[in-house]
Amino acid sequence: MLFTSFEFLVLALATFSLYYFPPFRRVQVPILVIASFAFYAWNAPSLLVLLIVSILINVLTSYKVAHSTQKTGQLFWAFWGVFANLLVLGLFKYGGLFTRFFLHLAGATTVPEDGLVFTLLTLPLPIGISFYTFQGISLVVDVLRQSDSETSSLALKEKFYVQIQPLKYLLNTSFFLAFFPQLIAGPIVKANEFFPQISPKRFRDIPWALVFKYLVLGYFLKMVVADNLKDYTFWITYPYYQGLGTLTNLTLLFGYSMQIFADFAGYSLIAIGLGAAFGYTLPQNFNFPYISCSIAEFWRRWHISLSTWLKSYLYIPLGGNRKGKIRTYFNLIIVMVLGGLWHGAAWSYAVWGLFHGVGLAIERLCNLGVQKRSETGSHPTWQQHIIELFQVLSVFSFVTFGWLLFKLPRFDQALDFVAILFKNVDAGVQLIYIVPVLIFSAPVLLYHLPHYPAFRKTSVAAIASSKTRWTTLAIDLTFGLMLAMLLLNSGSSTAFIYFQF
């Protein structure tokens, strides 16, 4: 079910009404679990079974980890919890990819029409599987880690994972894994941050300003920016880009970079807004990534919940940067390649991850990523501003070039696109594509601009953060304009790009 669909509006309003109806306050969690299952099952009811199986695996293993008194018992259940999550993910998401790979290695020319190989090749990709299995792993690992950490964590473990009835634990864990605002495309929530929030909620405690702000901004980015841009960035799919000039193709690629941000950041904002409407705080997922001065900074600002997850549950366990330079570079690259594969079951995503991993390693080698920006201390000089602008543009170009593999997942087509960039230099400039792309990209640029380092210290930023009557009026008018544009200029509705992951 899409956040932009009429069915979703009905489901959200019905759930919201029941949820805050005073006699139902004791069953708020079951209401949200049922609504989340309905949300998930809407387009493919059969896949709900897999979600429920995944929930049961995580309930059983994390409960056992929490209740095992011996370390070996905890490790045993934690291992099986993580393994089962990875098995589910591996089977449904990567079963086809690796089967095709091994068939290719074996030199098979035909594909069997039944049997195990056929089943592996035709398994459906359950929507949101990458997100809910990662949350499941975070649950199991967090419960395990709390067993040998400081007193406050132990208290947390006791309260939310041990001193709780099995049925309630089942319900709370189902809620944590299936909460519909973040079920399909994140933000990936950590168990330790979510479980303490589970409590009865009151209508009068709803942070309306926050809900309104996040929903309007999120829907605006998705429906007005991303859904309109997709009608133009469509033209950089094969073979259409072959007939376009270099400047046009570059503008469309720039537009795709804006689109993917607006689409995913829009989704995350809607999720956070919906979460807040039900009394839950979901983590921020984007922090103006396109003003990053380094690739490392980009990954601290883009899809923050995934980056944090990869850091906590993969990079640090692999040794992080504690085992020498070479090992650090290796860890960075391996984490990024796996992070790339997490995005999609195609080798081009692994190449995309490798591209970023190598970028991060080179940056670290040259000591570029660890430099602090000139945001504190004395006022930066104009030379510093120019250097920072150059860095921001370089990182943006690097990241945008990487998105090409999302738009053209077939590696040969991505290479062809690059070849066409050099070939079609004299093929003219197609303003009918360029002008709308620049117009629809403008909100993303304006959204980032006040956070650009050079502007942070200026009077513009001071005005934006002040609470005078005029600034309040300007903010109200901006949100009014976004609301009006939602009604007047929304593009045709499509699934969020990150749904495929």
Partner: protein, 297 residues
Amino acid sequence: MFKYWSVPKNFPLLRPIVAALLILSLYQILVFGNIIPSSDGINQFQTNAIKAERYVYDINPELKLAIAGSSLANIINPNYIGTNVANLGMAGGSTQTGLAIIQHAKVKPSIVLAEINSTIDRKIDENLVSTLFNPFLSFLRITLPIFRQEYRPVSVFVSALKGKESESSLATRQDFQDTPLRQQEIQRLIQENSNLMTEDYAELLQQQIAVIKTQIATLEAAGSRVILFELPGEPKVQETAKYQQIHDFLRSRFPADRYEWLPEPSRQDWITSDGLHLIRPDAKDYGAFLREHLLQS
């Protein structure tokens, strides 16, 4: 309980909502006052939607001819044919979408021209059709035109920047003759069509033929004369094995003794911009051919 549900006094939503309503009202006044011109669309999807909305919401009881087709038919400006003509050629879409719109619209033209070629492999654009005939949205768009695609602020702005194309400024046949890009596209199509269609593809066509046959029967029952046609194209592409196979397949499924086919024009030297779509001067000539055959008899 009522108190429990009451909205806080400093409700932060009101001011932006009032601002939005004021912006919408002002925009509607400017549209009613003809100060904001309409746009013909700035992309393929929008151009299709605008044509469909104009067809359904701006009812023309005098309508004589409507064309249903793909982007191939879309190139024919209705003005090339005559007055009271509508073209529902859908860029990137299919004949089935146009026929579905005509089928559900209040007024049916006396003649429906349906393009029949390989583009029928694209199914009906269900989203477009259901949105067009949604009772609430129809009412809204008829009452308040600002909610139509043709008044989308960005489209109006871009169209105003672009300005109107005058016919005299259009490229001539000589301009198209041997451009490298055109040749490259033609070669690609020849390559693509060198293999015969697969069984799956034939099955897909068969399914869509069944859909079109039902649509034709409904329109005929409503009193329209349905004529099938195939646009002229690039001779080299039309000589390919796959093209010929599909052509024969479709002709056999829509036999001339049951379905009326438009005769092919005698001229053979048609030029396309990309191996598929007629160039504007030739589309104009084909429009004249349609006028001669359909509206002057």
